[in-house]
Every structure is written in structure tokens, then in C-alpha cells.
């Protein structure tokens, strides 16, 4: 859709062309991390290409996860991660990290409070 026209993205070279071959992001971003366009990103003055414009538009309304950005742009997750990390470093996007629930990490009380919110949210569905 966005990249490469009708070509299938079967090789590693083509999808990563948009990152100029870089496969390592400046920032590790979780699959479910939420991405939001900042005022700087919305201003449109600092955008460095078509992909950045697409991402800024995508995340300018409701919050989108990294996985959603990759899926909606039809690029591999790793490509989306490099693009989003670059834009976050440039202040175009804000990345909200997920709350981790690993048994041996994080603040237990924060996790419990969030779980209770998830539970009431699910009951309201």
C-alpha cells in the first residue's frame, strides 16, 4: 500500500530500503507500546519523507500501537520500529511504554491497580 507498489515484500532488502538498510532501532519499542503524534510532529515542518507523514497522520487521532502502525503501513514490525524510534528521537512522536506484568519485575501495586481497571473494563464490554 504505502511502500514498494505492487511488489511483494518477500526479501529483506526491499522492506528495509525505507530505513536505508538499518535494522537496528535507536530505541527498543514494545509491540503494544502506544504511539502519539506530538505538536512538533503535527506541525508538519520537520517531516523527513512520505513514511513519516503517514505515521504522523496515523497517530494524530487515536493512539496506535507499534503493531498497528506496522500492520496499517504493511511493513514488517522491525521496519516500523526503526521508523518510529527515529521519529521519537526527533520529537515528532511520543512513545508510551506498556505496563509490564512479569512476575519478577515492575511495581506490584501499579500492576495490580491496572489489572483491576482492565477487569472492570472487560466487565463493561
Amino acid at each position: 500500500m504505502v511502500l514498494g507498489g505492487d511488489e511483494p515484500t518477500g526479501s529483506l532488502v526491499r522492506p528495509y530500503a525505507v530505513t536505508r538498510g538499518r535494522t537496528r532501532p535507536q530505541l527498543e519499542i514494545a509491540l503494544e507500546a502506544l504511539v502519539e503524534t506530538t505538536a512538533r510532529g503535527r506541525s508538519g515542518q520537520f517531516l523527513g519523507g512520505r513514511e513519516q507523514k503517514v505515521i504522523v497522520d496515523l497517530c494524530g487521532g487515536r493512539l496506535q500501537s507499534l503493531a498497528e502502525i506496522a500492520a496499517r503501513m504493511e511493513v514488517p514490525l522491525g521496519v516500523a520500529r526503526v521508523l518510529v524510534a527515529d521519529m521519537a528521537a526527533d520529537g515528532l512522536l511520543a512513545v508510551h511504554e506498556p505496563t509490564g506484568f512479569d512476575a519478577d519485575g515492575g511495581d506490584e501495586s501499579v500492576g495490580t491497580e491496572l489489572l483491576e481497571r482492565v477487569l472492570s473494563g472487560l466487565r463493561r464490554l
Binding site: R24, A33, A71, P98, L115, L122
Partner: protein
């Protein structure tokens, strides 16, 4: 850093939906998701390290792994994602990322192919990820007793096992609620144990 009045920070959480190929994971995700399930793809290279020059890995050394996922907005500032695992369990590299920080997992099973989920259950137990077993009942037929399934899967009595219909929103909702209740009860037990 959040300012003092910014008490409810924007964040997300995820639940992993696992099970054998064709058991109905995407159907289950779609039954409660507010978006049509999306597919995201990850590329694995034989050289797992990033390659920073133009001499990239040739085609034959790459594998694409697809995962379907859905989304539930719990609150304006809290989004829950449901991630279906890749169909083939040989793509373990992707599972590490999927389970990292997850609330827990739902193992969706088809009683005709119980063996499909043995390796999945082993993986979750090894990673200490809380999980429950949801038995997908096609056409509402409950062919096996819960205890028989429990015995066949060799899982402990604490692990919830329940019937579900992956196509049914209410049924999926109850499975998700059960999982979160289970995770909360495990946390409470752990806290009591400390004092």
C-alpha cells in the same frame, strides 16, 4: 516524568492468545476486538544481529512470521491488545517478544488435537506466564469432561479450564475476565505469602 496531576498515564497491556494452527485464535480475537483483527509480520534473519550495511542477508535466510491481533479500549488512556501467537511453535523467537510483560495467556484448545498445545503450555510454565485453558466447543458440543482434559494436558488444579465458543463475544469476554481474575488472585496469594 509525569507531573503530579497526571495520575493516569497513557499505557497499554496485552494478553496472548495461543493454540495450535486452525484452532480459532483469530476468531476469538475478532469476537471482542473493536477493530477487525490486523496482521503484523516480523522478519527473522539467520543472523539475528542487526545488519547495518548494504550487504544484507539473502532471501533464503529470512522467515516471515505473521501474528493477528485485536484491540479493546478499556479507557481513554488504557488500551488492551490481544495477540494471537504464530501458528507454528517453531517460531519461538517471536514468542519471547509476545509474552514479555503480558498479563497472561489463553491457550485455546481443540479436544480433537490436544497434543498441539503441549509445547505451548510447557513454554508458558517455563516463562512463569499465567495461563488458562479455553476449550473451543464447535457447535456447542462438549465432547470431553474438564477433568479428562486437565489430566491429558497434565496441568495443575489451580489452572482454570473452561469451555468457550471462540465465535461468541460474550463467551470470549468471560474467558478474558476469568484470566484477569486468575492473575489477580495469584498476585494476592503472593502478597499474603510475603507478610
Amino acid at each position: 516524568m509525569n507531573s503530579p496531576e497526571d495520575t493516569s498515564r497513557v499505557t497499554s497491556a496485552k494478553i496472548v492468545i495461543a493454540g495450535g494452527f486452525g484452532v480459532g485464535k483469530t476468531t476469538l480475537v475478532g469476537s471482542v476486538s473493536e477493530i477487525t483483527p490486523l496482521t503484523t509480520e516480523a522478519i527473522m534473519t539467520s543472523a539475528s544481529e542487526g545488519v547495518d550495511d548494504n550487504n544484507l542477508v539473502p532471501d533464503k535466510a529470512t522467515t516471515t512470521v505473521a501474528m493477528d491481533f485485536g484491540r479493546i479500549t478499556i479507557d481513554q488512556d488504557l488500551i488492551l491488545y490481544l495477540f494471537g501467537t504464530p501458528g507454528q511453535t517453531r517460531f519461538w523467537f517471536m514468542w519471547d517478544e509476545l509474552v514479555r510483560g503480558a498479563i497472561g495467556a489463553i491457550v485455546l484448545v481443540d479436544t480433537r488435537r490436544l497434543a498441539d498445545c503441549f509445547s505451548v503450555i510447557d513454554f508458558f510454565e517455563h516463562r512463569k506466564l499465567p495461563y488458562l485453558v479455553a476449550v473451543n466447543c464447535f457447535d456447542g458440543k462438549q465432547l470431553h469432561e474438564i477433568q479428562d482434559i486437565r489430566d491429558a494436558l497434565q496441568i495443575s488444579q489451580e489452572v482454570p479450564v473452561l469451555y468457550t465458543d471462540a465465535r461468541n463475544r460474550e463467551s470470549t469476554k468471560q474467558v478474558l475476565i476469568k484470566l484477569v481474575e486468575y492473575v489477580l488472585s495469584m498476585r494476592r496469594t503472593r502478597t499474603v505469602g510475603v507478610h
